[in-house]
Symmetry: C2
Subunit: 333 residues, 2 copies
């Protein structure tokens, strides 16, 4: 049901019937380690390259999530997947192995939310019955693609974030009991002219603030409607900036807000502002957050992964960093 | 309405209420030149880099398509866009300028079909009212990203294709008169172990054959149900290979099949197997094909853009080229 320009809510709420999250070794030493379905001992995952390892991570997350859902992969109508590698090859090569009809998505680190909203809209309105949504990222593939060869041993700048090595997948279904998708707000691209690619939080914070304000305005809800408002990977600085922007408009979410990028690592793990990457929000959501939605400790969640839409080339050509955030309203048990 | 594992048809058929195609200088000398809405005099389009030029092309195609549809951009619920640049920046930066809720897609050169099927499904099931679908590609950005610096003056191999400099956009609506989307078949990823990145046609042909066979089987239609079956950018070799595969299964589409990549250039233009690129199918569809659908010379079209899902890195790491094709059934006046 249309709620406003950017927001929809569902009468037939899609159900999350399965989820699986796989984490890298460093993530496996972090605060959420007990919640991960699987932790890699080596971030090469038995492969010859980090790119092949990332692909294997996303493939594993999708395959195991389907298994946990009790479905056969032949029953999945479509897989919605994306990642940060050029031409989202982790997703494409996963789709090749799975032979599920494939729809590749790219909204940077908000891709998991993009998948959730498109898939749930297609399920809620009766087009699809079952679909998977997955994303992945890998510290070692992201570093060498977006920044510098690992061998250089480059120092992180103070506002930088550590790309999460991880993958997460959920299986959405038109039938079943469990955690439900209640609605969504589609984000638009916001650019505050931030050009420092080592400060993604600053680039993404305005997008998060805009989308949250659109969502609250169009649903007529106040922040306390939700037990938790969870952004994807704003990191410490981005969260501060988002709260500054929101408070300027009289919106205070500080007591119910958290950020996957800040939850996934411990400050002692030397990750500067926190974790980031398309796999950050999908890993944390598919494991820790799902467990809290299932045990009743989160009844209403607004899940808002954020994405920075630049490329290495666009930054080298002097472009600022456009960002986006989609909001997904989720109901726990 | 569900027709089979991969195929859906619509009761409320989305209408194409506007379309716009913008072509590069070389394309503007090709056989379809009269049909293009706009032809660039320089492929830099007044910008400092080819990447910025490609972005401006896609932005222009979207903006002008909306204008031709008689809508205001504020009325567009969402824009579905993709391109071949890393992190699909042409689409992201277009979305930044347009401020329309943005859903980025990537299925390589079949991205335009991916956009058409997701957008039309969301419109047909009542979620969205109006949406744009657009893609772009640019010879000079693709060459330097996927192959070699232009300055090297590398020779094309015999089976290579020439990336189309162009962008196309259509505006889909739940209301109105005109060309209608009747249904679609979602493609799955097919890999025949082709590793020659200068022979995309060979990599994509099996995907086209699989999707066409799925579509015919699940709809119970024979090829002659359609006036035209139009693939995206298989090129001369890819079309031969697709026909060989189809004939092996007793399916002959040769008399009604054409390929945007073969239509967009003249053999004398020295493009080897023909045109390619995410902008190839969207440019040809949004201009020439739309005019034929509107003047009644094509009543039933099966539009099947194909995509090769590799990246430069995946090929360098010894991976073969996975491919995909989505089929969109379209009704002319």
């Amino acid at each position: 049901m249309r709620k406003g320009k950017h927001t929809w809510t569902f009468e037939n709420k899609p159900v999350i019937i399965g989820s699986y999250g796989i984490a890298g070794p460093k993530e496996g030493k972090g605060p959420l380690k007990e919640y991960y379905d699987e932790v890699l001992r080596s971030d090469l995952f038995g492969e010859k390259t980090y790119e092949k390892a990332e692909c294997k991570m996303q493939f594993t997350a999708i395959e195991k999530a389907i298994k946990k859902s009790g479905k056969q992969k032949e029953e999945i109508d479509a897989m919605f997947a994306g990642d940060l590698l050029n031409q989202i090859v982790s997703s494409a090569f996963s789709a090749r192995e799975l032979e599920i009809p494939y729809l590749g998505l790219y909204n940077a680190c908000s891709t998991f939310a993009e998948g959730l909203l498109i898939a749930s809209a297609l399920i809620a309105n009766g087009t699809l019955n079952d679909a998977t949504c997955s994303t992945s990222s890998h510290y070692s593939t992201a570093e060498r693609q977006y920044r510098y060869p690992l061998e250089l041993g480059t120092q992180m700048t103070p506002t930088a974030q550590w790309t999460v090595t991880g993958a997460g997948c959920v299986v959405l279904s038109s039938k079943g009991e469990g955690v439900k998708i209640e609605g969504f707000t589609i984000g638009r691209v916001v650019d505050y002219d931030v050009t420092d690619t080592n400060n993604m939080g600053a680039a993404m914070a305005p997008a998060a603030a805009y989308t949250l304000e659109d969502h609250l305005k169009e649903t007529g809800r106040t922040p306390d409607y939700y037990d938790m408002i969870l952004t994807g990977d704003l990191g410490k600085f981005g969260v501060e900036m988002m709260n500054k922007l929101l408070l300027g408009d009289g919106i205070d979410v500080r007591n119910i807000h958290n950020d996957c990028g800040m939850m996934v690592f411990d400050e002692k793990q030397n990750v500067r502002m926190g974790g980031s990457g398309a796999g950050c929000s999908s890993l944390v959501f598919s494991t820790y957050v799902m467990s809290k939605l299932l045990d009743g400790s989160i009844k209403r969640l607004l899940f808002m992964p954020t994405g920075a839409l630049m490329s290495k080339d666009s930054s080298l050509q002097g472009e600022s960093i456009p960002a986006i955030a989609h909001a997904i309203s989720i109901e726990g048990l």
